[in-house]
């Protein structure tokens, strides 16, 4: 059995397709692979096959008729897909699936650049994000997307929303402030160095005042521009009557600047322009890294927005027209073809339809809906027939948008660790002000002319740079690292609490199991052969999106049966190899019904029942190992709404001692509360809509990204991977972060204790202040960076494609 030249999968017998590449005849497995390979060869890009390190993704079967990107020609849709980037050029961005290695990047960039009118193509090999710049007159979004698809990749264009643009603006502002702070403080430091030296050697007064003047001219706008966010935030805190972290920081920077300005005009020596600018720079740097880490973690969530399809088939004057989903209005009637995604929330007009809402609710079986019931935008038509839907909710009102918004807002929340530092900040500021007042009073009595500058020196040097950098840096590093492991933290509160967890509550379906149906057992009757039965069943269910159908087909693309007839609620019948078969419930095929069996489908031909397929949900890989590790430090409990037999079998195979079946959402919540009342710190791990209240109530909550949006919005931690072993390491990692933050806080406190006497006694000089601040800040950041090492080791291998990519990049 040879494998396909393009995608590497086995070539089914009876298929004889091939193409000639560089003089060699290469067999392929399907027309899709053939088309892509031929295109690559034709464009002169056959070197792609030499470069690539992993087989390509198998191209999706084209639905035949119109190009799925035809809607992009419609002006309304095109407007939302491409942005103007000046110079009469436009840019379209999309997420491209199927980029498996660096060679794919090469192929895509070259292949798309070959289009007349395309100026630049840039593909991010790790995330698949692609940006294409083109001349609007010569080519358009449709041609570009079609080109990407023709090379065997799947483009998912990003519809521009206010959210995406807003984020990018803020990021750019931060970058500008950072640059200004950096460049400005470099200049000011140069001048300050001259002044430091001048303290020891005799520097001519004219030069000294000239340098001071130059420093003032640079430092003042730099501090005011780059430090503006800090001042604004401190002002907000003060107005609310809270003493947050930014207050002492703003106080110190402000004091430094004011003191320097005053002294400049008085002609007196101690000026702190260098400290002010440098500190603003460090803060800007810290914020920049933090937002980059968050951006990397948050980038995943844009993918949730494109659950809705780009185009929809609207019913107009009795005919179907293809429009962009953007153009739909409330009251429009749309037809959703089998396998297509529903474009918007609406009411079902057809008698019956089955929808796959896995991405919305985490349920593995399809949901049957009747006329009049609500259908959610983003769910897939899992039946055999088209469904007609009347649109009821659009845009911001739609379910997807609302939940997405919830999640987004939650993500933008300030981390809890800063709240720990905020608590300190209140006490700290009070202490500093008291000290300053005391010192001022003292010096007013002893030597009044020095009082002012000493008070200011005190305020400057006690600036809690270490304190304010400690927690955010640690959190930023931790967030970035954990995101790479697939753990997206919504708040640092979770990180704080995980170390205290004594009990873990697990849901079953979609949490400990994959939420996907597979054929667990195939029982044949009479003299039927298993392989033949599998093939027939696959042929009958080929191309259907229903979870049961997918279980029967596996990953293969099988030629569909002929004459397929579908009876909703019963099964499907069709002709395979000239014989008519029936696949469905026991009653449909004429077998004895065995209700105790759980989910199964029967296969029969005209004469007898041939086979029974038992379907089950698979356990997540390494679940047992992961649970064993967690059990070392806490109690584990399985709570599930599923019936006793399934739950018992899962619990037994995972080695869980305590499990509860047939729990309603209220039961689960009550169980949680009971444990909490008994004093346990409870973590809940779940994914379904019915788990949302549970997740909100738990001390720490973990949701899976493939679960319901609502669960994700209520959870502290969203897990994007599938290997539970990563989750099992969370307590260990949380401990590491906690240790680092404590070290940083201790160091910050120690530094201040040392610096205060120096300032209060009037011994402090500007260069001492500068060195003190920079050294303590750097030490804190360096310490936080140690987290990189502490959180690095991953027990799980990366997904094959990414591993291949990094490997090919490393060679």
């Amino acid at each position: 059995m040879t494998s396909c030249f393009h995608c590497g999968e086995a070539i089914p017998s009876g298929v004889d397709l091939a193409l000639t590449v560089e003089g060699h005849r290469r067999p392929v497995c399907c027309p899709g692979c053939l088309a892509v390979a031929e295109l690559i060869e034709r464009q002169g890009l056959a070197r792609f096959y030499d470069f690539r390190s992993v087989p390509s993704a198998r191209p999706k079967n084209a639905t035949g008729e119109a190009s799925p990107w035809a809607v992009c020609d419609r002006p309304e849709v095109a407007r939302r897909l491409a942005t103007d980037v000046g110079n009469d050029r436009q840019e379209v961005r999309c997420q491209v699936d199927g980029v498996t290695c660096a060679a794919c990047v090469w192929l895509l960039e070259r292949g798309v650049r070959a289009i007349d009118g395309v100026e630049d193509v840039s593909v991010n090999p790790v995330s698949g994000e692609t940006a294409v710049r083109f001349v609007p007159g010569k080519t358009g979004v449709r041609a570009i997307l079609e080109a990407i698809a023709s090379f065997g990749f799947e483009p998912r264009p990003a519809l521009l929303g206010r959210r995406a643009r807003g984020q990018s603006e803020a990021a750019r502002d931060e970058l500008k402030r950072l640059a200004v702070a950096g460049l400005g403080s470099a200049h000011v430091m140069t001048l300050a160095a001259a002044l430091y030296v001048g303290d020891f050697t005799r520097l001519d007064a004219t030069y000294a005042s000239f340098f001071v003047l130059a420093s003032m001219l640079i430092a003042t706008p730099v501090v005011l521009y780059s430090g503006a966010p800090i001042f604004r935030s401190a002002w907000r805190d003060l107005r609310r009557g809270r003493l947050g972290m930014d207050v002492p920081v703003a106080l110190a920077i402000g004091a430094a600047l004011v003191a320097s300005l005053v002294n400049t005009f008085r002609g007196v020596e101690p000026v702190y322009y260098d400290s002010a600018t440098m500190f603003v720079f460090f803060l800007a740097l810290g914020r920049f890294f933090e937002s980059r880490a968050r951006h990397r973690a948050g980038g995943l969530f844009d993918a949730l927005a494109d659950l809705r399809p780009l185009g929809a088939s609207r019913v107009r004057d009795g005919a179907l027209e293809r429009v962009g989903t953007i153009e739909l209005a409330v009251g429009d009637r749309v037809v959703v073809a089998p396998g297509e995604a529903v474009p918007a929330d609406g009411t079902l007009l057809s008698t019956h339809a089955t929808f796959d809402e896995a991405l919305l609710s985490g349920e593995s079986a399809g949901r049957r809906r009747a006329r009049g019931e609500t259908v959610l935008g983003g769910s897939l038509n899992a039946g055999h027939a088209p469904a007609e839907v009347e649109v009821t909710r659009l845009g911001a009102d739609s379910y997807l948008e609302r939940v997405g918004g919830l999640l987004h807002r939650a993500l933008a929340d300030r981390p809890g660790f800063l709240r720990l530092a905020d608590r300190w900040a209140g006490v700290f500021t009070a202490a500093v002000l008291v000290l300053a007042a005391a010192a001022g009073a003292f010096w007013l009595v002893v030597a009044p002319e020095r009082a002012f500058e000493i008070v200011l020196a005190l305020l400057v040097v006690t600036c809690p740079c270490a304190l304010s950098l400690a927690a955010p840096t640690a959190f930023a590093v931790a967030l970035g690292r954990l995101a790479r492991h697939g753990l997206l933290l919504r708040s640092a509160r979770a990180l704080e609490r995980v170390g205290d967890v004594t009990t873990w509550l697990f849901d079953k379906t979609g949490t400990l199991t994959e939420g996907r149906m597979v054929v667990a057992n195939l029982q044949t009757f009479a003299d039927a052969k298993p392989a033949e039965c599998s093939a027939v069943a696959a042929a009958l269910e080929s191309g259907v999106e229903h979870p049961v159908a997918r279980a029967l087909c596996g990953e293969r693309a099988v030629a569909p049966a002929a004459g397929v007839e579908y009876r909703p609620g019963f099964g499907v019948s069709g002709l395979v190899g000239g014989r008519r078969y029936r696949l469905g419930s026991a009653r449909y095929v004429g077998a004895a019904s065995e209700p105790a069996r759980g989910q199964c489908v029967y296969l029969a031909d005209e004469r007898a029942v041939l086979a029974r397929f038992d379907l089950a949900d698979t356990l997540r890989p390494h679940a047992k190992e992961a649970l064993a590790k967690l059990a070392e430090g806490a109690r584990l409990v399985l709570v599930s709404g599923d019936e006793a037999r399934a739950v018992t079998s899962v619990a037994r195979s995972l080695g869980l001692a305590e499990f509860h079946a047939a729990q309603t959402p209220d039961d689960k919540l009550e169980l949680l509360r009971e444990r909490q009342r008994a004093g346990a710190v409870v973590a809940a791990v779940g994914d379904g809509i019915n788990d949302a209240p549970l997740l909100a109530q738990a001390d720490v909550s973990v949701a899976f990204v493939a679960g319901s949006q609502l669960a994700r919005a209520s959870a502290d931690v969203v897990f994007t991977g599938t290997d539970l072993r990563v989750l099992a390491r969370l307590p260990e990692w949380a401990g590491a972060v906690r240790r680092i933050v404590r070290q940083n806080l201790a160091w910050a406190a120690g530094y201040n204790l040392a610096a205060v006497p120096l300032a209060a006694t009037g011994v402090l000089t500007p260069w001492m202040a500068a060195i003190g601040m920079s050294v303590s800040s750097l030490l804190v950041v360096a310490n936080a960076l140690r987290l990189n090492r502490a959180l690095a080791s991953a027990p799980t291998p990366l997904p094959a494609s990414r591993a291949a990519l990094l490997e090919s990049a490393a060679t």
């Binding site: 991010n124 090999p125 940006a131 500008k176 200004v180």
Partner: protein, 51 residues
């Protein structure tokens, strides 16, 4: 040493130029993607095929 009276303002002028240039680069989107260029260097650029 009096040259410093000319050099320091000159440095400040260069600072302004640097900032303006940076702002331009940010506006042009040069800093949008900071991850790919690192990997891109390692991608082989083969000889162009004729035709």
């Amino acid at each position: 040493m009096t040259i410093l009276f000319a050099l320091v303002p000159l440095a400040m002028a260069l600072l302004v130029v640097a900032i303006v240039a940076f702002f331009w680069a940010v506006r042009e989107g040069q800093f949008e993607d900071l991850d790919t260029p690192a990997v891109r260097i390692l991608l082989d650029d083969p000889e162009a095929r004729d035709g």
